[in-house]
């Protein structure tokens, strides 16, 4: 069978998918790019061509830089915490003990629940009048009076990060737990005989087997955290005083709350570009990790 026919057949087989992709991704993307060069409103006619004004305005606005910092803080802290907690949980769940299977199943629960359910649950926990967190901290004498964790700019972002970690650490734990199954028993035994303590055993024996899978988890979670919307929208809507406003929330507000479709489109494209840069950088890292592990 000739190579040309094989190539033609491959394209033919991919064609339906390509058509769907062009329809649902390509066309809206082109339309968004067009929109981003106009001052179009959400409703009404197409708007006037304004060149790069939307981009320059957006990039020079303090709103954007503040939101970028908030988003970066949210992404870095929550992903770092998820990685650490996820790996620790996986190491614990990899031990032999009674009820391990039940605990493994329970661990998946926060990740399996819909984000809206998770967010609502955490809103209840943080509730300033009857929230469990206030009750627990008061009874432990760590705080004197109930606080509005989501209502204070100083604590809202941290409270959101905790909720996001709780939801997403099981994914990291699950990936790490699967990777731990690949650590050969003999190598662990050899390190015990060689006198490696728990930390050195983790560093020299376990981590090389975890590095590749964890890098994949890191890529996935960082990209997700960078474009986070739902959990924040349900819990704080970007408030108080925009202290939890992330880039996706800003895009939503710009396009739908303030009905500035052109400006919103330019912001959406900036976010897309940032995420793409992140994805490419991480993909290179994954390739490098996989290469050095081989």
């Amino acid at each position: 069978m000739s190579g040309t026919w094989m190539t033609t057949r491959a394209w033919l087989l991919m064609l339906p998918l390509l058509v769907v992709m062009v329809a649902v991704i390509g066309w809206p993307l082109v339309d968004t790019v067009n929109l981003s060069f106009t001052d179009a409103k959400l409703v009404g006619t197409g708007g006037n061509y304004v060149g790069f004004d939307n981009y320059t305005n957006m990039l020079s606005s303090s709103n954007f830089s503040r939101t970028l910092i908030t988003t970066t803080l949210f992404a870095v802290i929550s992903v770092a915490a998820e990685m650490v907690i996820g790996v620790l949980a996986a190491l614990l769940l990899n031990q032999q003990f009674h009820g391990r299977a039940v605990l493994r199943a329970l661990m998946i629960l926060p990740w399996a629940l819909p984000t809206v359910v998770n967010a609502t649950l955490w809103r209840l926990i943080y509730n300033p009048e009857y929230g469990a967190l206030n009750a627990a901290l008061t009874q432990l004498h760590l705080i004197d009076a109930y606080r509005s964790w989501l209502g204070e700019p100083g604590t809202a972002l941290a409270a959101l990060i905790v909720a996001d970690c709780w939801k997403n650490f099981p994914l990291v734990a699950l990936i790490a737990l699967a990777a731990l199954q690949a650590v050969p028993r003999d190598i662990t035994a050899a390190s015990l005989v060689d006198g490696a303590g728990a930390f050195n055993r983790f560093r020299f024996v376990i981590l090389p087997y975890l590095a590749g899978p964890l890098m994949v988890a890191l890529v996935l979670r960082t990209i997700e955290a960078f474009k986070v919307f739902d959990i924040i929208w349900v819990m704080t809507r970007g408030g108080p005083a925009n202290s939890t406003r992330t880039l996706s929330i800003l895009v939503y507000q710009e396009a739908f709350s303030f009905q500035r479709a052109g400006s919103g489109a330019s912001l959406a494209l900036i976010v897309t570009l940032l995420v793409t840069v992140l994805a490419v950088a991480y993909a290179a890292l994954v390739r490098k990790t996989a290469g050095s592990a081989a």
Binding site: D186, A189, P208
Partner: protein, 357 residues
């Protein structure tokens, strides 16, 4: 004082008793091979010595000190694994020196010890490579080097040659023998390969179903097997086992008119009418012209030339036996012949207990 002493060690996994009371005392410099088929408990025993598994009861002493409950790193042992168990992200140099590094040995001393081990094992050129860049044989040398630098009281080897191809296995076997002769260290070595056991060991413990069937020198195990199991397990081809009955001072071979003289050394222990299994090593058989010595009339079924010898499978009535003959032996398929052997080559076993008379 023994270098290693195993006292009545038992191991249960739930209701399954894997080790049923093992007793071994090993002098310094001995090379003990634990030999047995899969599931006989040899690796479990090794893991108990290493501290990677706990004994249900009994005691293990190294240099007169009980080591049960002592962490593996404090047992003064080093272990070589079947899968090499090298740390994949560390260089050969760091792999070999890892045990010393973890014990806080100074970098200079470590380097000296690593270089010395590398020289002994002829892997000096590989020190800066990663395990993934090594062949199977090189990896096993590194694993041995990692054990050597520690200079422990007891070396433990868990089927270290099983993952190597036949040629490399032979080379490494000789290498291990050379190292043991040079260093005179105490070794416990687990294998299911009887050739490895015979060539390397100063003593062999043949294990079966959690017990030691026989503990002795390779010569004792080969020439004076204590049980039918040992007789059948050690030796390739394995020992011929002929079912027979004692009749008037002779051994009447079942399913055949052939009779063998009952050696005088057994005549007191075995009475008339007793059932007996006659064991004769294939190497002890030769083609005879007449029937002067103990001999068996046979009919040759299959002849296989292996190179150094001719393996002939023959029938004695309804029973089969194998003979390892010189390549020039004149035997062919379908031919009637006589296999003769010395009386000393005969081993007699009780078919009910499986034990040697």
């Amino acid at each position: 004082m023994s270098a290693l002493e195993i006292r009545n060690v038992r191991k249960n996994y739930g209701s399954v008793e894997t080790l049923k009371g093992i007793d071994i005392a090993l002098q310094s410099g001995e090379f003990l091979v634990l030999l047995g088929s899969s599931g006989c408990g040899k690796s479990t025993l090794l893991n108990i010595i290493a501290g990677l598994a706990e004994a249900t009861s009994g005691d293990v002493l190294i240099g007169g000190r009980s080591i049960l409950g002592v962490h593996p790193k404090n047992r003064d042992i080093a272990m070589v694994f079947q899968s090499y168990a090298l740390y994949p992200n560390l260089t050969v140099r760091r792999n070999i020196g890892f045990g010393l590094e973890m014990r806080g040995v100074a970098a200079d001393d470590r380097e000296k010890a690593v270089n010395e081990a590398a020289r002994l094992l002829q892997i000096e050129a590989l020190l800066d490579r990663k395990p993934s860049q090594l062949s199977g044989g090189q990896r096993q040398r590194v694993a041995i080097g990692r054990a050597l630098v520690r200079k422990p009281q007891v070396f433990l080897f868990d089927e270290p040659l099983s993952n190597l191809d036949a040629k490399l296995r032979l080379e490494m076997r000789t290498e291990l023998k050379r190292l043991h002769q040079m260093l005179q260290t105490t070794v416990v070595y687990v294998t299911h390969d009887q050739i490895e056991a015979m060539t390397l060991a100063t003593r062999i413990a043949v294990m079966r179903d959690g017990i030691i069937e026989q503990l002795g020198t390779p010569e004792e195990i080969y020439n004076e097997p204590a049980t039918l199991y040992v007789a059948g397990f050690v030796g390739a081809p394995s020992m011929n086992m002929l079912q027979s009955t004692v009749e008037g001072g002779t051994l009447a071979i079942d399913g055949s008119p052939a009779r063998l003289p009952l050696p005088a050394r057994f005549s007191k222990a075995i009475g008339n009418g007793a059932r007996v299994v006659v064991g004769i090593r294939p190497e002890a058989l030769r083609v005879a012209a007449g029937a002067a010595e103990p001999s068996l009339p046979v009919e040759i079924e299959v002849v296989e030339l292996t190179g150094p010898e001719l393996v002939a499978t023959a029938r004695v009535g309804t029973q089969r036996l194998t003979a390892c003959l010189p390549p020039a032996a004149r035997v062919s398929k379908g031919q009637a012949s006589i296999f003769a052997f010395g009386e000393d080559a005969m081993r007699l076993f009780d078919p009910d207990t499986g034990k040697a008379f």
